[in-house]
């Protein structure tokens, strides 16, 4: 691992962890917020290099065609969020919601979290992946509780307890996978190395794998926010700082999903094991429909979009559960589009909540009139997330629905119902938020719009035209997912 230190894969890990250590020492928040942006930028650039320079898989780390997509998306959104965060937190400091000491902690934790997520994505070892997911969870728990208000503490506690239980179940699942691998591969480290495990998966004891997958799906599924296990998600999104909401929705859920996908591939490789698809389809549909109806009752703007994240993770789990080249392609595309759109929405919502001084939907009206740039940004974002053409999410949802119709028409019915219900709820809320008589503070907002519009531009471009190489790449990855 140390031997090829200068390569891009190590850089993706080393940059965040080193900058976390440096940021922990810097007390000037202006310097540290810039340094945070810079570190995230370098991480993103190294992630981009991974396409060209791919190190050979080791016993702990590796890069393949699947995780490179996740790493690039992860570091990109990590970078744009750090830009947003820089303008967001200076306002929090002015209003006295955070003190400089907390900001120091915040920036260090931000990089620790990025390190945890990147490590989870590039780890070639099932045990290491588990440790990394746990690290990312714990760092976000601390961030969610950073305001130390009554609400924030309750949200963080709930997140921590549910997240720990989830992570504990995932570890038990991992142990079972090792138990299944041991008779075939032999004792020791090799039986936990992904690239070795997947080669021999066909010979594993299928019954053991089945039980393992149940635990892994429940465990990592808690972190994905799938429906019966989602209780932590809305609270954590609503009460933490908005950059963290953006990162939670845009990245952490994906990382947990990536873990589920890895084990799905493992089960697919074992012919006698149960098909993991129906389980994922069921959880996905429950999440989608449950969240779609819950959207109507939201009075808090950040909770509204948190439920929308549950809905979209449901769609993605459904798509991957169906499997096959088309549905997997749709799932990958939807995941990418959702990450970009949802974090753009949270960028807008963060500034809106700051300028209005409230997160209550009823107290926010007429944004397009009072703050045109922010308001229209939010409108575009919500239209995109609701799945209207010509934006990217429409395309991916269309692909999911059409492949569902082609293969399981009966399943397409609840899918479309959920989509339409959610669509209605979002547009209903958007009408109140964006139009009508402005309510609340009209003060101008000091914001960096660049991250938001960069994301929305990509989503729009993807909806209109997907570049050929990207399509080929995604198709290739979709094949891998089986």
């Amino acid at each position: 691992m140390i031997a090829y230190l200068p390569d891009a894969m190590s850089a993706v890990l080393v940059i965040p962890i080193v900058s976390a250590a440096i940021l922990a020492l810097i007390s000037n928040y202006r310097v540290s917020s810039r340094l945070n942006v810079l570190a995230s930028l370098f991480t993103m650039m190294s992630a981009g290099l991974l396409f060209a320079d791919r190190p050979a898989p080791g016993q702990f780390l590796f890069i393949d065609d699947l995780n490179v997509v996740f790493v690039v998306l992860n570091t990109f959104v990590g970078f744009t969020t750090s830009v947003f965060s820089a303008s967001y937190i200076s306002h929090e400091l002015e209003t006295g919601k955070l003190t400089p000491a907390y900001l120091r902690f915040y920036h260090a934790m931000y990089q620790v979290m990025m390190f945890g997520m990147n490590l989870a994505l590039v780890s070639n070892n099932l045990g290491l992946m588990w440790v990394a997911v746990e690290l990312a969870t714990l760092s976000t728990v601390l961030m969610v509780g950073i305001y130390r208000t009554h609400e924030a503490l309750e949200a963080a506690w709930k997140y921590f307890i549910l997240g720990s239980v989830g992570i504990a179940l995932a570890l038990f699942g991992t142990i079972l996978v090792y138990m299944a691998a041991r008779p075939v591969i032999g004792e020791g480290l090799d039986a936990m190395v992904w690239t070795t495990v997947i080669q021999h998966a066909g010979a594993f004891d299928p019954a053991l794998l089945n039980v393992a997958f149940i635990f892994l799906l429940l465990g990592y599924g808690t972190k994905v926010g799938l429906a019966p296990l989602h209780a932590w998600l809305p609270d954590a999104h609503a009460e933490g700082p908005t950059p963290i909401s953006a990162v939670l929705s845009g990245l952490l859920l994906n990382v947990a999903l990536y873990a589920v996908l890895r084990f799905k591939i493992l089960l697919n490789a074992s012919p006698q094991a149960i098909a993991p698809g129906p389980l994922m389809i069921t959880m996905g549909l429950i999440s989608l429909i449950f969240a779609a109806f819950m959207l109507y009752r939201r009075r808090d703007i950040k909770r509204l979009f948190a439920y929308s994240s549950i809905e979209h993770m449901g769609i993605i789990a459904f798509a991957f559960g169906m499997g096959g080249p088309l549905a997997n392609f749709a799932g990958l595309l939807h995941m990418t589009m959702h990450s970009l759109t949802k974090s753009a929405i949270f960028f807008a919502v963060g500034h809106v909540a700051q300028v209005k001084g409230t997160q209550k939907i009823a107290d926010i009206r007429g944004l397009t009139e009072s703050h045109p740039v922010l308001g229209w940004g939010l409108v575009v974002g919500v239209i995109a997330i609701a799945g209207m053409p010509p934006l990217g999410i429409f395309m991916s949802e269309f692909l999911v629905v059409s492949s569902a119709f082609a293969r399981h028409p009966l399943l397409a019915l609840p899918l479309v119902t959920g989509l339409l219900v959610a669509f209605g709820a979002l547009l209903l809320r958007l009408g109140g938020l964006a139009f009508g008589e402005p309510r609340g503070s009209l003060a101008p907002v000091k914001a960096s719009y660049l991250p938001m519009f960069a994301h929305l531009a990509i989503v729009f471009a993807a909806g209109v035209y997907l570049p050929g190489p990207l399509v080929i790449w995604f198709q290739h990855v979709a094949q891998l997912l089986g």
Partner: protein, 220 residues
């Protein structure tokens, strides 16, 4: 296979399940903490026995961590915290004792059925260990959901992690990565919890989660 080695391992793992049951119906924090201490000691013995049986020296480290960290440091620290917070009075359990015990038995039955059925190929020692470990994990979950007190929930969570360590050591030759990670995560988890308890105390003068529950997000 049914040798002394097997019998002792069986006894220790079974003892762990029994202690988990004891934890279920403790309605005082001190008593709960005391049972947890024995739970960790039993785990340490069990892991040490596995280390001896499997001839795996690194497992002694895990046993030592269980003994020193979970058997001594954490109970002492939590004890002091309870004293300082002045919450050593009764803790109410959400469901009645009878029902909780029945649920616990059902969970043990479930884990036996599931684990013994899916592992016919594995050696007897690993099978039994996994079944017991799953019982401990599930009872740990039950302890967590039946407590409304933050300290009680934390103790429940730690007993759950004890179950995980038992499972990890039962799986022969499991790489060290996981053992260290479990111990490590307990450490981090404890720090996090410590911070949380401290903060909750600081702001609300209570560690009763019930007091937190009055706030339900939007229902203000």
């Amino acid at each position: 296979m049914h040798s002394l080695q097997f019998d002792v391992a069986h006894l220790l793992a079974g003892g762990l399940v029994l202690l988990s049951f004891l934890m279920l119906y403790q309605d005082r924090l001190y008593a709960l903490l005391r049972v947890f201490t024995f739970h960790s000691l039993m785990l340490a013995l069990s892991v040490a026995w596995q280390a001896y049986v499997q001839d795996a020296a690194h497992l002694y480290i895990t046993a030592a961590i269980a003994l020193i960290f979970k058997g001594i440091i954490i109970p002492v620290a939590l004890h002091r915290m309870i004293v300082r917070l002045g919450i050593h009075r009764e803790i109410e359990t959400v469901v009645g004792v009878g029902l909780t015990m029945l649920a616990g038995m059902a969970l043990v039955g479930l884990s036996m059925v599931v684990m013994l059925r899916v592992t016919p190929g594995a050696d007897a020692l690993a099978r039994e260990d996994l079944a017991f470990a799953l019982s401990v994990i599930l009872i740990g979950l039950l302890v967590m959901v039946t407590r409304r007190n933050a300290v009680g929930q934390v103790v429940g969570f730690m007993s759950l992690e004890n179950g995980l360590v038992l499972a990890a050591t039962g799986a022969k030759g499991m790489p060290l990565v996981v053992e260290i990670s479990v111990a490590f995560s307990v450490l981090i988890a404890f720090i996090v919890i410590g911070i949380f308890l401290f903060r909750i105390r600081e702001r609300f003068d209570t560690v009763d989660i019930g007091a937190l529950d009055q706030f339900r997000g939007e229902r203000r």
